[in-house]
Amino acid sequence: MTHLLEIEDLQVKFALRFGELTAIDGISFTLDKGERLGLVGESGAGKSVTGFAIINLLSKPGYISGGRVLFNGQELNRLQDEAMRDIRGNCIGMIFQDPMMTLNPVLSIGTQMVETLYAHGNISRKNAEKIALEKLQKVQIPSPEKRLKQYPHEFSGGMRQRIVIAIALITDPDLIIADEPTTALDVTIQAEIMDLLLSLCESEDMGLILITHDLAVVSQVTKKIAVMYAGKIVEAGLTEAVITEPKHPYTQGLIKALPGSLQPGSRLNQIPGMMPTLTDIPPGCAFHPRCTISDSKCESKTPMLVSINDQNRVVACHMVKT
């Protein structure tokens, strides 16, 4: 059976004046219909770049230098522009971080919603508006008829993110890529939006790739998780297993850094140091300068992803016993 999305050894490079930088260094994962995957990591780990690489919309100096992106068995990174445009928005929807910025300030919500429908097939204005109305109801916007005629500035942040979700949903895509969909919202709204996204994915049987740095959100929503560090997947598996029993020292560090596991008043745990910039990724394991258990092997040899215990779980670390 073909997977909904299959990424094989994907490599993304940025061609700059002084040479090429590798932003994504050979990542692979699969996603089945209706399955939800969390991509986790610090800023600069390559999570968002992965998202854009899937829909083949890397901005200029970036390009896919190797590997394949298969969507329903179709190789996306080999498609012509025209064919790719038909998949974007139609079969794959995307939700961005900041709903203040992703809606065009001078067009009404209704216009922006029906636009996607117009771009992907002949549809009458009446039908398009009916679908838009239906989707607004789905994302629980009160009095949608009135709201369709309003402009983005007349909505609150949470409402706008609902609208962005409605726009992503409007063509009933099979896959939604949500790039930190709740980061710009306040905490109570975050939970609402995540719940909404989760229930929509379940009821519509949509696949979801949730890009975030928030482990709490991932554990709530996704079935699978992939932890990224410096352009590589360092640990992947079922969310529950990875969260309760992290193997890679980086994942362990991330989970320890959550404030929930601490006594009130004590200092928060943190991973010392910073994510290396793409220009000077250390040799060997990219994480070794920040790792508490690294030894000389980590400094010279890059660890490969190896499966442990069950076949779903993979870890890239020399120190983990298989």
Binding site: L57, I87, R88, G89, F96, M101, N104, E115, T116, A119
Partner: protein
């Protein structure tokens, strides 16, 4: 319709307009001038284009309130015996048509070029903007002399009269489009990196739709403001060209050619032929500029005082 009217009634635009008496006065004057030019055939006492209504014996009659003046010609007559008021009204009409026509052409060319250059960038941008630079480095008077010389060779002097209006529109329109191109390009470059453009690409919209439907409306503020100033500039350019004898012919005078035709007689005492069209031109250009200033202040969020 009713809804957008309600919206307009509550808008900041209308509110600030009501607060600013200069804007109100300018608007009233401008509206009147434009109304007059639209209704020229109804309002003008005589038809200056009709040779039968012109009597050479009436030439150089001073305005009505001067001793030798008659009530029949309120502002007097010009050297050919035409009623100056009627000629001015028709001249204003020509000036408005040429001004607006030239600006529409400028805006069309400039917006297309600026949008393409700004959004696509790279080599396309470099080539288009260098063309704009070259265009701006030609003084428009030189272009005008060139084009009208070529025109007269190709079509003959006889047809110049009937084709003078579109010709002036093209000359002035071609001379100043880079102003639009530069402004639009600058704001497109600011807009194109915003996330809503990315979002539009993500939902699979084509480049053309993104440029025209998403980016263009967001650059309209600056387009609107320069448009007002450009209309005034175009009217001035037309007057200057006519004054130099490159614009509207004497048989169909615009304000500029009226000023010119009177200029030769100003020392022989017929000051009114130049004076009244001059005043009309100044008032017209001034109110447009004042309105443009007001619009710029209102639409500039950095100056927002509300």
């Amino acid at each position: 319709m009713n809804r957008s009217w309600q919206r307009f009634k509550k808008s900041y635009l209308l509110y600030s307009f009501k607060q600013d008496w200069v804007a109100i006065a300018s608007f009233i004057v401008l509206a009147n001038l434009i109304l007059i030019s639209i209704l020229a055939p109804v309002l003008a006492p005589y038809n200056p284009y009709d040779p039968l209504s012109i009597d050479i014996m009436n030439s150089e009659i001073p305005p009505a309130w001067i001793e030798e003046g008659t009530k029949a010609f309120i502002f007097g007559t010009d050297i050919q015996g035409r009623d100056l008021l009627s000629t001015m009204i028709y001249g204003l009409r020509l000036s408005v048509i040429i001004g607006i026509g030239a600006v529409l052409l400028q805006a069309f060319l400039g917006i297309s070029v600026g949008l393409t250059a700004g959004y696509i960038g790279g080599k396309v941008d470099a080539v288009l903007m260098r063309i704009a630079d070259i265009q701006l480095s030609f003084p428009y008077l030189m272009v005008a002399i060139f084009i009208s010389a070529i025109f007269q060779v190709v079509f003959g002097i006889g047809r110049f009269e009937e084709l003078a209006v579109p010709l002036l529109v093209v000359i002035i329109g071609l001379a100043e489009w880079p102003v639009y191109a530069r402004t639009v390009r600058a704001s497109v470059m600011g807009e194109k990196n915003k996330e809503y453009v990315e979002a539009a690409r993500v939902i699979g919209l084509s480049r053309k739709i993104i440029m025209v439907r998403h980016i263009l409306p967001n650059t309209m503020t600056s387009v609107l403001v320069i448009s007002t100033i450009q209309v005034a500039n175009a009217v001035m350019s037309e007057a200057a060209l006519s004054f130099l004898g490159l614009g509207m012919p004497v048989t169909k005078p615009s304000l500029g050619s009226l000023i010119k035709s009177g200029f030769e007689y100003i020392f022989s005492g017929s000051w009114w032929i130049t004076f009244f069209p001059g005043i009309a031109l100044i008032v017209f250009v001034l109110v447009i500029n004042l309105l443009g200033d007001w619009l710029r202040d209102v639409l500039n969020p950095k100056l927002y005082k509300g």
